[in-house]
């Protein structure tokens, strides 16, 4: 039997602070842009970032990345300080192996 080729993923729930309304897609684009700025195109490809879905809660987004790449995503979020002229920050709320776990519905 050959080894499994399916790579494990992690679902990262992000929360925006300091801004009244921001769409999850905007939050994902902010993170992807920052990962690309810091780690380059190759780094962005390595993280395997993708947008998962909108969450009902305000200013919360769930994004997906590779299992070993969570630190890079956390690192990139630290550098996100504003969108346009508005000062804001993104914080990682929860990390899980499932979307359900990341949103927090048990």
């Amino acid at each position: 039997m050959g080894e499994t080729v399916r790579k494990k993923k992690r679902y990262v729930a992000l929360e925006a602070h300091g801004i009244e309304r921001i769409t999850p897609l905007d939050m994902f684009e902010l993170v992807a842009h920052m990962v690309k700025e810091i780690f380059g195109d190759y780094g962005l490809a390595e993280t395997e970032l993708s947008w998962v879905r909108t969450v009902d809660k305000n200013n919360v987004a769930v994004i997906r990345c590779g299992k070993d790449q969570v630190e890079k995503v956390r690192f990139a979020t630290l550098f996100i300080k504003k969108i346009g002229d508005v000062k804001m920050s993104l914080r990682v709320v929860r990390i899980s192996g499932t979307v359900k776990g990341a949103i927090g519905k048990r």
Binding site: R74, F79, K87, V92
Partner: protein, 227 residues
């Protein structure tokens, strides 16, 4: 899995906060911190903070951040303020100050300005270093130097610190609620820049917490020192 780590933010600038300190401390608690070292200069505020910390279950320590221009100013400040603050941090603006600060046991944490490439942690300094070396997220994100140069410099500093067994502390240096970061986010900085995972976690838990506890015992008169 709960590891029982006591996460500590070693540098929160409460004085600079325009919003109330209660909100700040509440956010710190919500982010998972068990203790924090805060800078505060207004004596009137101390009482409020003591009341707040008891309700939140957050251990607070007073911190003084000094930026001496020369060794005489550093030694004078240490003589005057050491007994009044639980944590003393020194920002080394030149190598002359750095050489004294890293050796002095009265200094708890030293930091080096990221915008000046000449003032940095060298092997020679690291061998003498008794204090912990601190990196603040605020400085890291706000400094006006190309990012690749900062990351390159930090990588070298971290390598130098770990090869000489110098303790590394990562703190937020926050002056507003949006600048506060969770302990795991803080620990991602050394983790990404080549430090071992467990060591990265120690830089936001064990190392800062031990400094605060030891100094509290010292100032409380319960610590029996060597000699």
């Amino acid at each position: 899995m709960k590891t029982g780590r006591k996460y500590t933010d070693m540098y929160v600038d409460v004085d600079a906060f325009k919003d109330n300190p209660e909100l700040t401390l509440n956010t710190l608690r919500r982010l998972g911190f068990k203790s924090a070292a805060i800078t505060h200069r207004c004596p009137g505020r101390d009482l409020t903070l003591v009341e707040v910390k008891s309700t939140l279950g957050l251990e607070l320590a007073s911190r003084l951040q000094i930026k001496p221009k020369n060794r005489f100013e550093l030694l004078k400040n240490l003589r005057v303020y050491r007994s009044r603050f639980e944590v003393i941090g020194v920002k080394c603006l030149n190598m002359d100050v750095a050489r004294i600060a890293v050796r002095d046991s009265r200094v708890d944490v030293v930091s080096f300005p990221l915008e000046n490439p000449k003032v940095r942690l060298t092997d020679k300094l690291a061998k003498l270093c008794e204090a912990a070396v601190e990196i603040t997220v605020k400085e890291l994100t706000e400094v006006r130097v190309p990012r690749h140069l900062i990351l390159q410099r930090l990588r070298n500093d971290f390598e130098c610190a770990s090869s000489n067994r110098v303790r590394l502390i990562v703190s937020s240096g926050a002056s507003s609620v949006t600048e506060l970061a969770s302990p795991m986010d803080l620990s991602s900085i050394p983790a990404v820049l080549g430090v071992e995972k467990m060591e990265s976690l120690r830089s936001v838990s064990e190392y800062p917490y031990t400094v605060i506890q030891r100094n509290k015992m010292k100032l409380g008169g319960t610590l029996i020192g060597n000699g």
